[in-house]
């Protein structure tokens, strides 16, 4: 879909209006699965500026327009209440609140820029859990010509890469017996398997984390069963996948060391590494320099919805948004409002460039 638009399809959004949207969205709790109220506020913003908008079957806010670029970020946040307030820190106004950085700041900045420039926008749900919004979007929509995914990269950062993600659940059962017996039980089998997996992916200290497979157990439960006849263990694990590998090879390596028990794997998310030489990356560098800042190119050790977009859509993309990602999910999550304003200006300049209009 590539909708041709004219200047009449754009609308003015003042920095005050953009900040008001940001504060409203941060003030509305929107943990994954409970995004409806925030989605309504976001949809109202587009409606108020005469933009076509609807909330789709999974709860995404869809505002299609010129597909020269799709601006998209996530509506949901991780749980956690942080009292919403604006404080002055080192002479700057700073907004405190859950989601201010991850990723309501990028979301509101993109909404303002999309209305100002007349490009397509989607606010997706469920990014912090199973990415159900992004998964639905790639099945329900044709590829745009370019994508900006919204996550905190900082005003000057352009994120080009993310590692992939593989999650699984290990389950083992052994017969119960006296603990003085030498035979390993299910808990020991789980521990031994995981130790061999960690050893298999161990690398030298100088290897950048982005290029490593990193391993993390995230939940473990074990002990004698209720009927007393067996010992059971369940362990949830996560592995991050560098662009040099695919999920299948990582899975094979992990399973090669499996002597007892079974592992059920979730659908993997592939890694992504975009070129800095695309038109969208160029447009960001120019826009950031126009704000008298030095652009930075980033590759992140985590995973985002951009991984899914890159797997489904054959178009150039980057991730961008205001905020310090060290504050992702943190109890002191907060966003500089001047950084928010500058990110809106940068996104507007990028979208204008990609629409083929004057920079």
């Amino acid at each position: 879909m590539n909708v041709s638009m004219t200047d009449t399809d754009t609308a003015d959004v003042s920095f005050e209006d953009a900040r008001e949207l940001l504060v409203d969205l941060v003030s509305i709790p929107s943990p994954s699965g409970e995004e409806a109220a925030a989605a309504e506020r976001l949809a109202d913003f587009f409606e108020a500026h005469d933009r076509e908008v609807w909330i789709d079957d999974v709860g995404n806010v869809r505002a299609p327009a010129d597909d020269a670029v799709l601006l998209t970020s996530h509506i949901d946040t991780v749980p956690g209440e942080i009292p919403v307030r604006v404080e002055t820190e080192d002479g700057e106004e700073v907004l405190w609140g859950r989601g201010s950085v991850d990723a309501t700041g990028p979301l509101a900045a993109m909404a303002a820029a999309a209305v100002r420039t007349g490009v397509s926008f989607v606010g997706v749900v469920g990014e912090e859990t199973n990415s159900r919004g992004a998964r639905h979007l790639v099945k329900d929509r044709e590829a745009p010509e370019a994508v900006v995914n919204g996550e905190p990269s900082g005003v000057t950062g352009i994120t080009l890469g993310y590692r992939g993600f593989l999650a699984g659940t290990y389950v083992a059962t052994s017969e119960s017996g006296h603990t003085s017996r030498p035979d390993p039980n299910a808990i020991q089998h789980a521990m031994r398997w995981w130790t061999t997996v960690e050893d298999a992916f161990e690398t030298d200290d100088y290897e950048p984390v982005f290029e490593q497979v990193t391993t993390k157990p995230v939940d473990v439960d074990g002990g004698t069963s209720d009927d007393g006849l067996s010992v059971e263990t369940t362990m949830d694990v996560q592995l991050r996948i560098p662009p040099s590998l695919d999920a299948e090879s990582v899975r094979e390596t992990a399973e090669a060391h499996l002597e007892m028990g079974t592992v059920s794997w979730d659908e993997p998310i592939p890694p992504v590494m975009e070129s800095p030489r695309t038109e969208i990356a160029r447009a960001f560098r120019v826009a950031i320099r126009a704000e008298d800042e030095e652009p930075r190119l980033l590759r992140k050790t985590g995973t985002s919805d951009m991984n899914l977009y890159a797997g489904a859509w054959d178009c150039p993309m980057v991730t961008y948004g205001p905020g310090d990602s060290d504050l992702d999910h943190a109890p002191d999550e907060r966003l500089s409002l001047s950084a928010f304003d500058r990110s809106v200006a940068i996104l507007e300049r990028v979208a204008t460039t990609l629409r083929g209009e004057d920079e």
Binding site: R285, K300, T301
Partner: protein, 54 residues
């Protein structure tokens, strides 16, 4: 034609050069970013940094 900011060698530039474009120095291999076109000005292109999280 302009000079590589890393090694000083001549860098040949094409006619429809754009600001923000990345070009290569064929002598030292440096990646250079065009920060102006009238006249052409090159800077070392930003290097890829590693960051945590999303």
């Amino acid at each position: 034609m302009t000079e590589c900011v890393e090694c000083g060698a001549d860098v040949t530039l094409h006619d429809d050069l754009e600001v923000g474009e990345i070009v290569d120095c064929t002598t030292c291999g440096a990646e250079l970013e065009v920060v102006d076109t009238e006249p052409p000005v090159l800077e070392r292109a930003p290097e890829l940094e590693e960051d945590w999280g999303e």
